[in-house]
Symmetry: C2
Subunit: 416 residues, 2 copies
């Protein structure tokens, strides 16, 4: 099995062709934008690992996600570097649909632990992307990185209403795995953790079962667990100017090693869905600032009609109220600030008090968290009526290095 | 929107046709059994709700699951009955791809809470099934059901090694939602919980991201988080004799109201994957009793070769060892006992000790738990070497009433 793709190539290639055809057929029958089903159906292929930027940021958001934050347990810089090199090789292989290492689950020495855990055998690449980030704590004295710490890799301030659980917060490193098959995403994280044994340990992790944002104009806007379309006005992969302005670290922004990278903010947001569900439709729409059905901004007709914060309704009051989520989160309200969102719905059992523990795992990428995410979240935390239904209980901030060149490794611009 | 399917019918019908074509094309290119991808691709359709038995038992196992156990908080029998009637109507609609009630998320009175939470708008039925069960505690004095309690609805004994968490154990009621889209499964459970507000509360719940058993000969065998194919010798939907013998409650078995029903056992089994991953391939295969690659019984060649417990290897010892999982779980070893398994892989974040909290949510259906699941689990708990890597920390036992007739409701044979 050495070196062979983990999946049966003929079957997969055949499926790819057939699926592309199916997508085209659906497209011809349905109107305008593709449904989320079509996106899923064409999602078995591999996403290139190498590039100027890491994949998993502007990649059309896959349906499922497994995110992990880790603590580095070794204190040796050389061991951290070799881990990043081993991880990169494994990531290069797994995103291509191969096993984590040569030999894999069953092709190696039977007297040794397998080089792959095996649960993704026979599954296609499923658009797996793996995206690494470095937390503020990585730049302490342990690895000689203090001088390379980006000034913008701040400790996030405490926002009004934050109820952070230390067991879901922070981390020296993070890896975001996104794929259209959750088994493929879980397999990837699990194998990276396995490879890291003795050098890193899991600090916290989160499974996201359904995407809540589109990152491409080719994707339909999915719905969050409040039942609303989420991320209609997201920064999209097709808008290169917006990506340059709001997402990618540019020369002169901060340390040179981070050019082409970005900053990732993760927030675990419990949504008190049981309370929300007892709120009237009219109130829900006032809180969001959009209609629930088609997702049009209040005062408009269609989902992608521009948000107009100045439309007046009865009594001369704005149709989109002062505390509406879309107003407070809008670029207009925030002086032009935007972020690229990439969140996922989650449900993690129950809370022991008779309710589901469900919500939104918010992930966003921005060029300067202190000037983008922080003022946005500060405005929402202070004024958004939706906050009554939310509980921010996990948080992380990570510098996301640029993409890996052929032969390079994750973070090589920082470590070499 | 009243009364209309929640999803755009034309688009969905078109997708169905195209997908069937895609499946056929893949089938023609690949060898022998279908891959799990094909099954997924043809999984957007609706599964009939009515029938002799409840759906979700012999239905080809869908890819995703959300399971909930609930406590009944009302003490009024009439309120419990009307809840079951409302739930049945909602289940009938949601499994058909409609919203939970007429009016739905946006078609009702805007000044009232919506009749559907909305997050499955635009999603196809996704083979959603909803399967209800009644726990032993439902048959106490509260609802006048003590005289109707099935003698076989036992409290499960404590098995060696059990480490049950009270917060993941028991329940007056359970609902298993299975679908090929997790958002559809989560939506269904969430709406049943919403409808039950004031009458039931969530006791525990579990999301399963990937199926670990096939329940149809048309499905490929999936892999569990130990990387092995799981459930090769499962009772399959196509084997009517085995279903009659091992799954369905027959006249004379117990209370008449349960004829056509079955018993559900749920076990949350944490798998210590980090320890397993440091075990050699040879040892893993000895523990399971099958090869990891193709899943053949040790001493055989192909996955579906019959397990032969008598093949001798070096030194005259059985190739399938005395403590191998397949031996202890085999019908031969257990005097003919079999169960229909329907489990799911899960991962629920981390354990706070540096490891993933991942494993198998074991679900099985059998005709007499005391004579089937209990001796099987007792044999495994006492002798299975795999137990060193497992931790049973959640458990439930439920009587699953028969299928609902047109106009009937869940449990009507018990309550009327």
């Amino acid at each position: 099995m050495t070196g062979l793709p983990r999946r049966r190539l003929l079957g997969f290639a055949g499926a790819g062709v057939a699926l592309a055809g199916a997508g085209a057929a659906v497209g011809a029958l349905s109107s305008s934008r593709p449904s989320s089903d079509q996106v899923r159906l064409t999602g078995a292929e591999a996403v290139p690992f190498h590039g100027e930027h890491q994949a998993g940021i502007t990649t059309p958001a896959q349906d499922r996600m497994h995110f992990v934050a880790l603590d580095v347990t070794t204190t040796k810089r050389a061991e951290l570097v070799s881990l990043l090199q081993e991880w990169t090789e494994a990531a290069r292989r797994m995103t291509a649909g191969q096993e984590a290492a040569e030999g894999g689950a069953v092709g190696g020495n039977a007297q040794a632990p397998p080089k792959d855990t095996g649960e993704a055998l026979d599954l296609p690449p499923s658009a797996l992307t793996l995206t690494i980030g470095f937390g503020p704590s990585l730049f302490d004295e342990r690895f000689g990185l203090a001088g390379s710490k980006p000034a913008k890799l701040i400790d996030l301030p405490r926002f009004p209403g934050d109820d952070l659980d230390e067991r879901r917060t922070g981390g020296d490193l993070c890896v975001q795995a996104c794929a259209n098959d959750p088994q493929v995403a879980v397999h990837a994280i699990r194998n990276l953790v396995r490879i890291g044994f003795g050098r890193v340990s899991v600090r916290w992790s989160q499974l996201g079962f359904g995407r809540t944002s589109s990152t491409s104009t080719a994707q339909a806007t999915p719905r969050n667990l409040f039942g609303f379309k989420d991320g209609t006005n997201n920064v999209k992969a097709e808008d290169g100017d917006a990506l340059r302005e709001h997402v990618w670290v540019a020369p002169g922004d901060g340390p040179d090693w981070l050019v082409g990278g970005t900053y990732l903010v993760a927030r675990r947001i419990r949504m008190h869905v049981e309370i929300w569900d007892r709120t009237s439709l009219a109130e829900q729409e006032q809180i969001v600032g959009r209609t629930k059905g088609v997702g049009a901004p209040l005062g408009q007709v269609a989902e992608f009609d521009p948000v107009d914060l100045h439309v007046k309704g009865k009594g001369g009051l704005p149709v989109i109220g002062a505390t509406a989520h879309v107003r407070l989160a809008s670029a207009e309200h925030l002086g032009g600030v935007r972020v690229l969102r990439r969140g996922y719905n989650f449900t993690d059992g129950s809370d022991g008090l008779g309710h589901l523990d469900a919500g939104l795992f918010f992930l966003c990428f921005n060029r300067d968290t202190g000037k983008q995410f922080v003022p946005m979240q500060a405005a929402l935390a202070a004024g958004d009526k939706m906050m009554e239904y939310l509980e921010h209980n996990g948080s992380g901030h990570f510098a996301v290095p640029p993409g890996v060149r052929e032969g390079g490794f994750w973070g090589d611009t920082l470590f070499t």
